[in-house]
Amino acid sequence: METQLNQAAPDIMHVDLNACFAMTEQQANPLLRGRPVGVTNRAGSDWSTIIAPSYEAKRLGVRCGTRVGDAKRMAPGIVIIETDPPKYRYVHGVMKAIFQEYAPRVTMKSIDEGVLDFRGTTDIRGSRTLEDIGYEIKDRVKEELGEWMTVNVGIGTNWFLAKLAASLNKPDGLNTINHANIEGIYLCSKLTDLNGINVKFRNRLLTWGITNPYEFLQASERTLTKQVFRSINGRHWYLRLRGYEVDDLEFGMRHVGKQYVLHHRTAEPEELAQVLYKLCYWISRRLHKYNRVARGLELTIRYAYPNHQGHQDQDVPPGPTKWHLTHCSPATFSHVSEVYERALWLFQQSPPGLTVTQFNLTTYQLQNRRDEQLPLLQTDIQRDQRIERALQAVNDRYGELTLTPARLLGAEDYVPDKIAFGSVRYLLK
């Protein structure tokens, strides 16, 4: 039996900040307003990527992921700025506080977007519509963060449609999608405009003759479940496209990790071990902060091409560009020395002599610290823990890495604080 479009009144609101990092930098520095700006994690290198272009830069073709060198060619005069996490944490905190004044349930989906759930608030809102509240939120963001800050607001019957509505008139739009206009909006949209449909999924849909969101909507549940997706995802898409909620799920913390792109690419093991140690330091800090211990560790390494200092040589065949290895142990770990011991073992298994460009270290199989099983045979664990607690207390008081192990003396490649996209797990200080 065919499921109809959801006829309920839209009561989910999606709010996202436009080009979050770039707009925040333009708010902070009024001289940058109206000019192309690109925010990157590494301002000194033309090989680093833009993680947030301003709208002015986007109009000139700069996208997330464009290399800084390319961005400079596409947008002459573009101002490249290195990320400044405290600014973005503050903006995130202010937005969340504003949202919580309006809706009983707020879910921050990432650093620059949140979902406000107004279900069950009709009596409290009285005659105020969600559109009224949306415009008020826009004003509040400008009032509390600054006149340059604009947000897109989307209203729908589920998270998916609310996000799609928020993307319709960027920047500074406010749109509602309901059962009356949904088909028209699907007709005017591309498949990749839908949140969750990337190029790979688009190609899969094209294979089955689905060329736009309207045809996606018209596809039967059986076609989506048995043929296109061959899984429960087909049913989820069938319901999602009709405005029924299937995404209102929150997952617990399943891994803690840190990624680092080396400023100074090197194949020198001593230097790489120092960088690795600093990643272990941050991971250990995060595990302690969230009261977790881990059992598994994954190390992923990206390499430059053999002759690489930025250029590919057609005459030299490329070597491995990526390597990874995981290891899961019966004993749990969380202290820096424990994480480092395991990370170093993984690193020692990697192919030697290659120039490393990036480390990605991730702990998994997390459990709460109180469930931790102490090993019977390891006698100095409590001593290590006391030393590390003392070290952390000093660093809590005076700042990160105020006290560092001797092995880091002379280390030049500092691993700075960065903000991860798509996650708000590490935002709270």
């Binding site: 925040t24 708010q27 902070a28 520095n29 009024p30 001289l31 940058l32 000019r35 301002a43 400079k72 005069g77 573009i78 101002v79 490249i80 405290p86 600014k87 944490r89 503050y90 903006v91 963060l145 600054g146 660093n395 809590d396 008081r397 005076y398 700042g399 990160e400 105020t402 200080k429």
Partner: protein, 90 residues
Amino acid sequence: MPIEDIFEPVSVIASFRRSPRGSVIVRPEIMNWRNRHYRIDKMGLRFPTTKGARMIHRFTFVVNDTTFELEFDAEILTWELLRMSDGNPT
């Protein structure tokens, strides 16, 4: 002069007032740096951060054609000029 690091102590006259919603709005008004007064034309952003356990407030603002970034250490009550920029690309 795209971005120039300064890291020098400065004197600041700041105003404190309540917003209609009750929060306190702090705004540097005049900065004295190297015996010269700078009257703030336009505020950019104020945001808090920390240095260890110390609360720090950072302010960005424009004087003439230059953006300045100030830091106020809320524990030892000092102002420091961190950097200045004319907004031009590096």
